[in-house]
Assembly symmetry: C2
């Protein structure tokens, strides 16, 4: 992962450690701690699902206190749908880490992912804190990315550097997520760190802008998680980012590039997926309309199963566009392409359509569905994956 810059750059001011806490299954790393140097700050966005998990509610309160020092992330159990006990359990874990690290409990920000409805095994989490803290390292990104996974099959880490006036700043992030993926203003779990010195308001805006164009445009199955969270932390050890100007733009671009790398990695690693699919809509009246069409196509089970078969079944794509809720859509103006191959225009298949060329494009691991609504200048790209029998197998057997 990592686009043109595959290296993972450590971020001055951030250390990561992991542990095998045996939270749900023995012998796998399932706990990660990220340390933020004193003086750092963080911005975050969370799921809009009305059933928000206990750690989401606690994390939001703790971040509001300011001065976060540790992120505590466990996989295996989501601590969601656990009622009042859930919050008490999350707080107990924060207190235990705070005692060992010598900080306030509110400086610990908890995140959980995994099965919904089971209580968090607090003793096991606490048992993993010692090893995780003892192993803190600036080079711990890949290990931490592995320790927060559920049904993920690949580590998701992305990294960029940007040359600012005051020197080079680094942005490195990790994410997990493969199923129950349809973030709504926030996302699965993603943690992005920078050494830049960024005022709080700028950090918050940078995260929200990047999030809108990355994690908020990923869908694996249309199911929004109860535990989604995305956090951008800054240690301030590096160059300053002002509230406006070229340095801010370069910083924003680096954050956005890292988030898009991670978002695409999540779609590519969608449960059971064999293909990463870009659904690129243009010619829309506004961005909301473009997103609605792109998501409707990206979430259509019929489109996704055709993609699994590498079948250029464009009729299913048209049918999805047609039910996307644009009441006055003129279907004769809609154009459709698969990769470089034009498929539909003027309400029917284009003359000379080469189905073999379309099929060849769909046979690859990265697929592009291009849709031009022909009624405006706005566009949006949504990332998804194909729907395979393996998705069903994974999700029918997840708890067993």
């Amino acid at each position: 992962m990592g686009g043109e810059e595959p290296a993972i750059h450590p971020v001055p001011g951030f250390r990561l450690g992991t542990a095998c806490a045996g939270i749900r299954k023995p012998g796998r790393a399932d706990l990660a701690v990220m340390e933020i140097a004193a003086g750092g700050s963080a911005a975050a966005v969370f799921t809009r699902n009305r059933f928000r998990a206990a750690p989401v509610r606690v994390a939001e309160r703790h971040l509001a206190e300011g001065a976060p020092r540790y992120l505590l992330v466990n996989t295996g159990v989501a601590n969601a749908g656990t009622g009042e006990r859930g919050e008490a359990d999350a707080l107990a874990c924060c207190r235990a880490l705070a005692e060992r690290a010598g900080c306030a409990p509110e400086a610990v920000v908890p995140f959980s992912t995994g099965v919904i409805g089971e209580p968090l095994p607090v003793d096991r989490v606490v048992g993993g804190l010692g090893p995780a803290l003892a192993g803190l390292s600036e080079d711990g990104w890949a290990a931490a990315a592995a320790a927060i996974q559920t049904t993920d099959t690949r580590d998701k880490v992305a990294s960029r550097q940007a040359a600012l006036s005051g020197g080079t700043c680094t942005v490195t992030g990790m994410a997990k997520g493969a199923g129950m993926i349809r973030p709504d203003m926030a996302t699965m779990l993603a943690f992005v760190a920078t050494d830049a010195a960024v005022p709080d308001a700028v950090l918050d805006t940078a995260l929200r802008r990047a999030n809108e164009r990355s994690f908020n445009r990923v869908t694996v199955d249309g199911d929004t998680s109860t535990n989604d969270a995305c956090l951008l932390a800054a240690s301030g050890a590096g160059p300053a980012v002002p509230a406006a100007g070229a340095d801010l733009e370069r910083f924003q671009a680096a954050v956005e590039a890292v988030c898009i790398d991670l978002a695409r990695a999540i779609a590519a690693d969608g449960e059971g997926a064999t293909r990463l699919v870009d659904v690129a809509v243009q010619g829309a009246r506004d961005t909301a309309e473009a997103e609605r069409v792109a998501f409707t196509v990206a979430e259509s089970p019929l489109v996704k199963t055709a993609l699994a078969a590498g079948d250029p079944n464009w009729g299913r794509i048209l049918a999805a566009v047609g039910r996307a809720g644009i009441a006055d859509l003129d279907v004769a103006g809609v154009r459709l392409a698969l990769g470089e191959q034009a498929v539909v225009a003027d309400g029917g298949v284009v003359p000379g359509y080469d189905e073999a060329a379309a099929a060849a494009h769909l046979a690859g691991h990265e697929v592009r569905i291009g849709i031009d609504l022909g009624r405006g200048e706005a566009g949006a790209t949504v990332w998804t994956c194909d729907l395979t029998a393996e998705y069903v197998r994974i999700n029918a057997e997840y708890r067993t």
Copy 2:
């Protein structure tokens, strides 16, 4: 199919015939003709997908002319996404039937279902008209129901009789549909016939009311078809139905019962399905809210894969309720039951929850998910099915 009254009652004034026209595959019945006695009438609702198939557009125009005499239905090719040629092809088939039957072309109402984007093989359809007309019979319902199927595995016919002041009236209907099922104001293909003498406005209202509570509450995969249509025809050979009163209520109840039978049969025969699922929402502020929650649960891939496994993974149901778009939902007031087993209340699992009892309920062929939002008096039930690897296989291989 047929609920408490499994018999299929012929409807005076209606005859059905079929043919093996070889439209897409040889050796199977793929063409059905329904004859309506002179003086009959019909009401219909159609898909709201913006990409409406050519036969849908032609059918709507022909019905507006009044006096329908023949329904012409083919499977194999949907004649959708076929541009201007599509309408010309549909009209050519209507003209050919009109010539043979001695009626106006506008008295023939065309319907198509099958693959999108391929031209209708007019010659083959026309070749099947002779045999279909020669075989017209009042007892042709089951054969016709078989002849209009695509990936359906079972015939879908339902029948009721109602005792009216003027005598007994019959309502019999057939439907097809297993995939691309999420009707929006209309449905896959459903044809319901009655011998009652029903004024046009009453017939139209009866169909729309029944449709809202039956076909419009079915979802297999959330994909709205380009060819959905539901038609209610009356021959007038039987007793009269007035515009109000007890006879109208009895007639409406019979139509609704037939439509619900057919709607549930479609959900039960959802592609790859092993279970029929009732998602029953109550305690909503209004019907729209209840429907939104029920559809969100019924279309959640994670809920549907858990159902395929017979896994009472209630966390996924809660997560779906939580993302259904009710901004001010108090999650502590939500209650969830699987069959008779209470599962969730007060934001967590109920004391004494018996997971074995819930699993036993989910092991059956008919499953009930009960959701009480605890904020009002409205409710709605949506019918769906589980999501299996077989669904993926069917839809990945549909065109091959």
